[in-house]
């Protein structure tokens, strides 16, 4: 039997409890005596606040406190700008509760704390808010005009800053070009919509001065740092726990949403635990969103299809505030060349304020936008040059022998350079073409057309800079009594399976059974160094840190086991929760080894008796813990990546379009993905498939809609069309495994990958299907039946 754990399809440790309904999400935590919060939110996109009258709400039976900007003390200040940047010349962040002005529908104006959520909502409706509405411009293109109404009076053209990134000599490339392709593409605003909305609970222990916060956040450590700073409490008195979190997808990396400060404040002031469980409408109007950009892209090509230069200018909707800096837009800008060499390019962009909830990363974080822009352009280039879509890509891929491929001068969202570390792009495309059988498809397409049916083949290639720094840590310890391996890191899990893949990494080195590895994260009380879960970085950063710590632990185990069994270290092998002398049946369990390396005074069980002071095995002449040694089996290490590691993949789909009903049917969807070495292929596939489903949402169903006054039009699950099982195709997932040389495990990130190319795949397939009708190229995502109808109608007219 194989003793390998790394790379195996192992069932998840966390599942049984979740399946029995024994998960512990924030609202599942029983805090006796807890009060419940609800918010009065702006119903107007942009207005001066004439008055906020909370007297009737305060008088309602069951209401304990109503907070406005007037009674939150030092918290009444703009929230921090989390990621400053020199070119972000006009940064704006919001206040926890509005003062004088509101900037979007959904902005928090007052917080009611009451005996339960029902009464809190009753009270919210008793708060009288008098608005003096101001004009707004919701169209991203028009918002930058000189005469557009300003979201912030001191920000001309609503532009938060002007940014430029460049590699090579773009102007020279365009001067040399034989052909220039120009396109303009538009992506709509959307939202992550995790099924557990945001949630927070806080408890203040006045006796000890300790604040405990349960937060469905992706970043417990950052929230702790922020709260310690805001409330001037030492870090060791603030504990932030993210228990089970019902999906995050980036929305829960943003902090602080106002409740994350106000709920702890209320708990401290009122002396009772306070909970805020965001509801679905609040999640649609008050939690971070993403995705809207308009790109104007030009690519400079030679007649043979080689692209030698690219210029992109894009507008990025950042919402009414920009607390997360330009992370999303910067990722778009630096990912614009995709898997292609394109040695010279310049991207200019402007984050634009619109009176809507702020934009911060959502799964993909700028990459789906860049992918849509460049891939739409590559399709167009192929058409204009009369080349096959696949062939144009082949001629531009960074070749297998060209890695690492440095994009000189570009700085990625981690502040480090952009260098594609490893890959096999052309090989991946070949596998994809073979699997989907491009020639066979063309025959099927022709035959279908004879019957009046329209099939199209869509294609999208993507790269993803993953595993961003700065660093994560790993702590590995073996419990002396149970022999279980206890692993910590500073991350949080939202369902990605950290508890299983980190257990596999630790088990691979220590020989423990995977289900004997206890992974505890998402708790600042368990491990207090690290950053957060975002940017497809958990496996890369924490995975390698845990691996490095486990390697150290392994050395300790092997040394101790060799001493205990009086053999050489080379003769020790670790498996099945024990150290074995190779070729014999002699073994010592991890519990025995952990016990033996921890000199004891008291005996708790049989193995521990052998570690007490009079036991023969622990007889020493000197100190029982030798100088320089630490007790037990325990190690900590940290991994800090030199720069992002670039995963990649390609998707292809066969889509049938019904030109009468303007509906689509995905006949086949194939994905090939490469995230370096896979720790657990089943989990990788789950991540890829989940990402694709979110991509399908963005390709054909989901967008956040507003009327021209800035009022959200579909802030609920009836009108925001998240796909059901009936809308998401079955996907054939193929793997390619090109290890990265950048980290010891050879792994790259996978969390966001699936989402990236789907809108392009749908667009190119529908375009291919409807080619006989002569439709205009598709330039907007999401595509809709109504849009297909308009294109067909337009084509028939012309």
């Amino acid at each position: 039997m194989s003793t390998r754990r790394f790379g195996e399809r192992i069932e998840r440790n966390a599942d049984a409890a979740l399946l029995r309904g024994e998960g512990s999400f924030i609202d599942d935590i029983d805090l006796p005596g807890a009060l419940h919060a609800a918010f009065a939110r702006s119903t107007v996109a942009r207005a001066k606040l004439r008055s906020v009258d909370v007297s009737a709400a305060e008088a309602l039976d069951g209401v304990v406190r109503v907070y406005t900007c007037e009674n939150i003390g030092a918290l009444d200040a703009p929230l921090p700008l989390l990621i400053p940047a020199p070119d972000l010349t006009h940064p704006k962040t919001q206040r926890p509760l509005a003062r004088d002005d509101v900037f979007y529908v959904g902005q928090c104006i007052a917080m009611v704390v009451a005996v339960d959520r029902y009464v809190a909502e009753d009270a919210v409706r008793l708060i009288e808010i008098d608005y003096d509405p101001l004009p707004v411009e919701m169209d991203l293109d028009k918002a930058v005009m000189d005469d557009a109404p300003r979201v912030h009076p001191d920000v001309p053209n609503n532009v938060a800053g002007r940014f430029c990134v460049e590699t090579g000599d773009t102007d020279a490339a365009f001067a040399e070009a034989e052909h220039v392709t120009r396109i303009r593409v538009r992506l709509e605003r959307s939202t992550a919509a995790p099924l557990e909305c945001r949630a927070i609970a806080a408890r203040w222990e006045a006796v000890t001065g300790e604040l405990t916060v349960w937060d469905s956040t992706q970043s417990t450590l950052s929230v702790r740092g922020g709260l310690a700073s805001l409330f001037r409490i030492d870090e060791d008195k603030v504990r932030v726990i993210a228990p089970n979190v019902g999906g995050g997808f980036g929305q829960k990396i943003m902090m602080f949403h106002p409740d994350e400060m106000l709920v702890p404040l209320a708990a401290m002031e009122l002396g009772r635990p306070v909970k805020y469980i965001e509801d679905r409408v609040e999640n649609f109007i008050g939690a971070s969103q993403e995705r809207a950009q308009i790109h104007t892209l030009e690519i400079a090509a030679m007649k043979d299809g080689r692209v030698i230069g690219l210029r992109d200018d894009f507008l990025h909707d950042t919402g009414a505030f920009i607390p997360y800096g330009v992370a999303v837009a910067l990722v778009s800008a630096t990912s614009i060349a995709g898997p292609y060499r394109i040695p010279n390019f310049r991207v200019t962009f402007r984050p634009v304020y619109l009176p809507a909830v702020q934009v911060t990363p959502y799964r993909g974080c700028g990459r789906p936008h860049a992918c849509y822009a460049i891939e739409r352009a590559m399709d167009q280039l192929a058409g204009e040059l009369g080349l096959d879509r696949f062939e144009v890509r082949r001629r531009n891929f960074i070749g297998k022998d060209e890695f690492p491929y440095l994009r000189e001068g570009l700085i990625f969202a981690d502040g480090l350079h952009v260098s594609h570390d490893s890959g096999a792009y052309e090989e991946a495309l070949e596998t994809l073409c073979r699997t989907i059988d491009v020639d066979g498809f063309r025959a099927a397409q022709a035959a279908a057309r004879e019957e009046g049916r329209y099939l199209g083949l869509g294609l999208g290639f993507y790269v993803e800079g993953t595993g961003l720094g700065p660093y994560e840590g790993g702590h590995v310890k073996i419990h002396p009594i149970t022999g279980k391996v206890y692993v910590n890191t500073g991350l949080t899990d939202q369902g990605q399976g950290h508890e299983t893949v980190f257990a596999q990494i630790a088990a691979e080195q220590t020989g423990a059974r995977v289900d004997d590895v206890i992974v505890v994260e998402g708790d600042t009380g368990a491990f207090e160094w690290g950053v957060a879960t975002f940017a497809s970085r958990a496996a890369v950063c924490s995975g390698n840190a845990i691996h490095m710590a486990a390697v150290k632990a392994r050395a300790q185990i092997v040394e101790a086991a060799a001493n205990m069994m009086e053999c050489s270290q080379e003769d020790i092998e670790l498996r099945d929760g024990a150290a074995w002398v190779k070729g014999t049946d002699r073994s010592a369990t991890l519990a025995e080894i952990a016990t033996a390396t921890n000199p004891l005074r008291y005996a708790f069980n049989k193995p521990s008796a052998s570690a007490t002071q009079f036991a023969p095995a622990s007889r020493h002449d000197g100190p029982q813990l030798a100088e320089g040694r630490t007790p037990g089996i325990e190690a900590t290490d940290y991994y800090s990546p030199p720069h992002a590691t670039w995963a990649f993949g390609a998707h292809a789909a066969v889509i049938e379009v019904d030109p009468e009903l303007c509906t689509i049917e995905v006949r086949r969807y194939v994905c090939i993905h490469d995230c370096g070495r896979m720790i657990n292929p089943t989990i990788v596939e789950g991540q890829v498939m989940g990402g694709i489903a979110q991509g399908v949402g963005g390709a054909f169903y989901e967008r956040c809609e507003f009327d021209e006054d800035g009022t959200p039009l579909n802030a609920n699950f009836m009108d925001f069309l998240m796909p059901y099982a009936t809308e998401v195709p079955d996907v054939e997932i193929l793997h390619s495994e090109t290890p990265t040389p950048l980290n010891p495990l050879g792994v790259k990130g996978v969390g966001e990958a699936g989402t990236i190319p789907v809108a392009q795949v749908y667009a190119s397939a529908v375009e291919d299907a409807l080619r006989p009708f002569g439709i205009a190229p598709i330039r907007e995502a999401p595509l809709t039946p109504d849009a297909i109808h308009r294109m067909l109608r337009q084509a028939r007219k012309s």
Binding site: R117, E121, C662, M718, Y724, P785, D786, H789, R793
Partner: protein, 289 residues
């Protein structure tokens, strides 16, 4: 998203329910709650009193009596869908119900509730119009029967008077030599229709001796496609007559542009759906090869 306060009664007879409704214009009957409770959770609706009908066993009765299927208003949609006797009497009903939301919603949603809710894009009201069904309405003043085409006045508005309770839905059995079909286009499976068409085609000697067509999602209420029916009468359900019927159906489309579909798109949809449902219905006429 918690509802506002209300009073609650759960009477055991229709009479008690009518008494409870009669005294209070803001009172609302509660059937399956699958449409009403969401609007209450959003606080769009805030009835003073909910008169829960679940204890009134008489409202759950259903029977196939000759050429009429009598369905108690509190019949759960899923129960009607799976009722073999009903399926034999009129298989259109199950075909339509398969498009109503999702199984778990149909488990609790009632037939009377959906019809009284009268969403202009809903499938059951469209089916009732197409089949020429009716409802029985009772009040403290007595009982009356309202034909489907008189019942639906506007989106979410019916001819039911305050204090009047829909107690029974009457759906004609499928007539002899008649085929049926329902088809809709929705953004997602189970969503309300952008447009849906229900067709009943009766053939005699290869030509349409009777045609009933109704559509949902295309106007402010479920709509008979009368001109389309006329175009098919006396003609075979194909070729030019069918094309004419499809074109004629367009004039019934009055729903303005909304966020999912423009007027032009809905017009094209209803035309295409008329062609497809009529062809399918005609193909299902028993004895027709």
């Amino acid at each position: 998203m918690k509802p506002a306060l209300f009073e609650y009664v759960a009477p055991r007879s229709v009479e008690e329910a009518l008494d409870a409704l009669a005294g209070d214009e803001m009172a609302r009957p509660l059937a399956g709650g699958q449409s009403l409770i969401p609007t209450m959770n959003f606080r769009i609706a805030a009835p003073s009193t909910l008169v829960d009908l679940r204890r009134i066993g008489a409202l759950e009765a259903r029977a196939v009596e000759g050429d009429v299927i009598r369905v108690g208003a509190m019949t759960r949609q899923r129960d009607l869908e799976r009722d073999e006797a009903v399926r034999r009497a009129n298989p259109l009903i199950a075909e339509v119900l398969g498009n109503v939301a999702h199984i778990v919603i149909r488990n609790r949603g009632t037939v009377g509730g959906s019809i009284a809710h009268a969403d202009a894009a809903a499938e059951l009201p469209c089916m009732l119009v197409a089949t020429g069904g009716s409802v029985v309405a009772r009040s403290t003043g007595g009982e009356r029967t309202i034909a489907a085409e008189e019942l639906f006045l506007f989106h979410m508005t019916t001819a039911l008077e305050p204090g009047e309770l829909l107690t029974e839905v009457r759906i004609p059995a499928l007539p002899p030599r008649t085929g049926y079909a329902f088809q809709e286009v929705a953004r997602r499976h189970g969503d309300y229709a952008l447009a849906g068409v229900c067709a009943l085609v009766t053939l005699r000697d290869g030509v349409c001796s009777a045609v009933r067509l109704a559509a949902c999602g295309i106007a402010s209420k479920p709509t008979r496609l009368a001109a389309a029916e006329t175009a098919l009468l006396g003609a075979p359900p194909e070729g030019e007559a069918l094309a004419d019927a499809a074109e004629a159906a367009r004039e019934c489309v009055t729903a303005g542009d909304d966020r999912q579909a423009g007027l032009d798109y809905r017009s094209d949809l209803v035309a295409a759906l008329v062609r497809r449902t009529v062809a399918k219905a005609a193909g299902r006429v028993e004895g027709r090869a």
